[in-house]
């Protein structure tokens, strides 16, 4: 009885809190990374004052945000104004419930501990559903501020979400068709069993997913809802202190979520890079076991940490692309962005689904 309770409630709760804390820590240091990477690209230094090489800067930032005066505009809808940042953060964090960080479970005292919170058979569907909720926070935040620039930002965000949620959904259908499952763990295992990562047959899908993902997370060149140079700061103009930090947090968590989903669906999740070519280059088979487990003496635990390492590396690569984009591109114009979504990405994603189906049927018939 007690053991069952521990397995079904205790361990997931501990795992959940651990994931939350780790994610928060990563977000804090992601801000530093972003500032450092962009500073590098822009020939400057970035933060250096707080701690060695600015390593304590994120902590200083958090303290600053915590003690900053929290202002609510006089004529704002106070309840919604306070609720909106929470609405933005909650779905972003909830997305981590179905993301598999590694494959191998570990057994401690006879209790199986899996390196993910849950593996549901509609994992992908859940992700799509939960990730589209974040926009409520932005739209409501823009509206509740009772100010014109935030209002414009909120409206832009709603329009952007409508335009990009559709190609985002379509872009992953190809993966579903090939892997024949909507479970996130199942999708990675399908890539392992088939011997190729899904970015090979689904490169178009990957492109559409990534572009839509950048648009969904309101990042440059699609950062229209905040567009500092046009709308001052868009939906979060009136926010300060911790409420502002929550929006900020949501944006960064969403970046990690998109990176994690791309990794899981297209880049083989926790699988080592050699697994892409193993089927065609037999020699790689001898290397793969050591890349699957850096610490063989630790047994399954070593395999799990190695899986997490590969997963994190790939996710980091996607996040790095985000930063790279930010340092390179100007901002899209609102109507061009909509045109890109409706006139290019949606038709392209539909064609991708049809083409994937046709190829699967052809391959099956031979």
């Amino acid at each position: 009885m007690l053991k069952n309770l521990l397995i079904s409630v205790g361990i997931p709760a501990v795992q959940g809190v651990a994931v939350l804390l780790i994610v928060l820590l990563i977000v804090a240091y992601l801000t530093l990374l972003e500032r450092k990477v962009i500073a590098f690209m822009q020939v400057r230094l970035g933060p250096r004052r707080v701690g060695p090489h600015g390593l304590l800067q994120p902590i200083a930032d958090v303290i600053k945000l915590l003690i900053k005066e929290d202002i609510t505009p006089k004529n704002a809808d106070k309840f919604v104004f306070a609720l909106a940042p929470i609405l933005a953060v909650f779905p972003a964090i909830a997305a981590f419930a179905v993301i598999p960080f590694a494959g191998q479970p570990v057994e401690i005292f006879g209790i199986k501990i899996r390196p993910y919170l849950s593996d549901v058979n509609v994992g992908l569907l859940y992700l799509l559903a939960i990730s589209s909720l974040g926009v409520f926070g932005i739209v409501l935040g823009g509206w509740a501020s009772n100010s014109k620039y935030p209002m414009l930002g909120g409206l832009r965000s709603a329009a952007q979400m409508v335009s990009y949620e559709v190609p985002l959904g379509f872009s992953i259908i190809g993966v579903l068709m090939i892997s024949q499952t909507a479970s996130m763990v199942g999708i990675v295992e399908a890539q392992k069993n088939l011997g190729f990562w899904f970015f090979i047959p689904q490169i178009v899908g990957l492109f559409i997913y990534f572009v839509s993902g950048v648009a969904e997370t309101n990042r440059t060149p699609f950062d229209l809802p905040e567009a500092e140079n046009e709308l001052v700061a868009g939906f979060h103009t009136e926010y300060s202190g911790m409420k502002f930090a929550f929006f900020f947090l949501a944006e960064y968590i969403n970046m990690i979520v998109v990176g994690a989903i791309v990794t899981t669906l297209f880049l083989g999740g926790w699988l080592p890079p050699t697994s892409v070519f193993q089927r065609w280059i037999p020699f790689l088979g001898t290397v793969t076991p050591s890349l699957e487990n850096f610490f063989p003496f630790l047994g399954p635990f070593g395999s799990m940490t190695t899986g997490i390492f590969w997963f994190a590396t790939k996710t980091f690569f996607i996040i790095y692309l985000y930063l790279w984009l930010r340092a390179t591109f100007p901002r899209y114009r609102y109507d061009r962005l909509m045109a890109l979504g409706w006139k290019w990405l949606i038709p392209l994603s539909i064609v991708n689904v049809l083409a994937t189906g046709a190829v699967i049927i052809l391959l099956k018939s031979f």
Binding site: Q42, D223, N229, A327, T328, R331, Y334
Partner: protein, 365 residues
């Protein structure tokens, strides 16, 4: 049908993209601009009126503060008007140095324009790259006259002092480096699809309208009108140099972008020619100790980075001018804004303000 409501929105004076203290009263239908009205005067310092209570020499530092992004050109224009009143001949060496510094100033000013224009459209890296090169020019100015922004370096009849030792080599070094740096900006912008979409066909003004509004500088040349004071009424020693005046075809933001880039190249060309043929000799003509121009009036204009900077002085024979009037290219160019933004989107407004290259210090004199 749906009922839509127009929204009145204040863009500025404290908006990140209104380049100082420009306030733009916008009437929007959704995000489309129905009507706009620039409101100016937030920076007004009454420099023209103030100048009437100062001696001719004392006015020079005030002119620094008009267009603080191109203060050397402002100095040059004002001093040119005083020299016209006095009928002074400037020594050739001083004139050559004036040209070098004026063209360096043009590059520095265009770099600030490109930096802020790109930033307005969301390209942040270009912003920092441009400031990196501008720093080098400011270093050159600093080693010449000690100041980095308001130079006050031109004197009636010549210059404050001769170029310091090693300055010519440093300047040449900058000129050699500059094309590779320009390539960096162009790699990021000129053929970037987003940049093209954000600038082509945005803020179009025809040659006829541009002339009728009195526009000058790249705003006028963007519409295809070949008009440059350096060619039309050559001052200093511009006659001695070989350079082209770039003009546009469509009069849009992209054309004006290309023109300013080309102007930077041409300025570099002029600087190199001037450095090659820099004459020896005096840097200041003989000027009376107390400057009291004879009764009369003078108008002198220079081709500043933003267009024709004109200086009109009336002398009553005393030490102080009777009347001082400045023709600001910023002020004149700004009047085209409502026409340029009409029917465009909010995002285009910032691109158009950027393409005007306004400096509010020179609008609100």
């Amino acid at each position: 049908m749906f009922r839509t409501t127009e929204m009145v929105i204040n863009m500025g004076p404290q908006h990140p993209s209104t380049h100082g203290v420009l306030r733009l009263l916008l009437r929007l239908d959704g995000e489309t601009v129905v009507d706009s009205k620039p409101v100016i005067g937030y920076l007004h310092r009454g420099i023209e009126k103030l100048s009437e209570s100062k001696t001719y020499v004392q006015i020079t530092p005030l002119t620094d503060r008009l267009d603080y992004v191109a203060s050397f050109s402002e100095n040059l224009g004002y001093i040119g008007a005083v020299e016209k009143l006095l009928g002074i001949e400037v020594p050739p060496r001083a004139n050559y140095i004036r040209v070098i510094l004026a063209e360096l100033q043009r590059i520095a000013s265009h770099l600030v324009w490109l930096a802020t224009h790109a930033l307005d459209i969301g390209a942040m890296s270009v912003f920092l790259y441009c400031f990196r090169e501008r720093e080098e020019i400011l270093d050159l100015f600093e080693s010449f006259c000690g100041a980095r922004l308001t130079y006050n370096a031109v004197r009636i009849g010549g210059l404050y002092q001769d170029l310091p030792e090693g300055w010519v080599e440093e300047c040449r070094k900058f000129c050699e480096l500059f094309p590779s740096r320009m390539k960096e900006y162009e790699d990021l912008l000129t053929i970037n699809r987003i940049w093209l979409q954000r600038t082509i066909g945005i803020g179009v003004i025809s040659a006829e309208d541009a002339i009728n509004m009195g526009l000058s500088g790249p705003m006028l040349r963007g519409s295809g009108v070949k008009w440059d004071i350096r060619k039309a009424y050559p001052y200093a020693t511009y006659r001695d140099f070989d350079f082209d005046v770039p003009i546009g075809k469509n009069g849009d933001t992209y054309d004006r972008y290309l023109i300013r880039l080309e102007e930077m190249r041409q300025s570099r060309r002029i600087i190199l020619q001037a450095l090659d043929h820099l004459p020896d000799g005096e840097i200041r003509a003989k000027v009376p100790r107390r400057i009291k121009p004879p009764k009369g009036e003078a108008y002198h204009s220079v081709e500043g980075p933003r267009g024709e900077m004109g200086f009109y002085l009336i002398s009553d024979g005393s030490e102080k001018p009777y009347r001082v009037r400045f023709r600001s290219p910023n002020f004149v160019n700004l009047q085209s804004l409502p026409r340029l933004v009409e029917g465009h989107l909010v995002a285009d407004i910032v691109a158009i303000i950027g393409t005007l290259d306004v400096v509010l210090g020179c609008v609100d004199r």
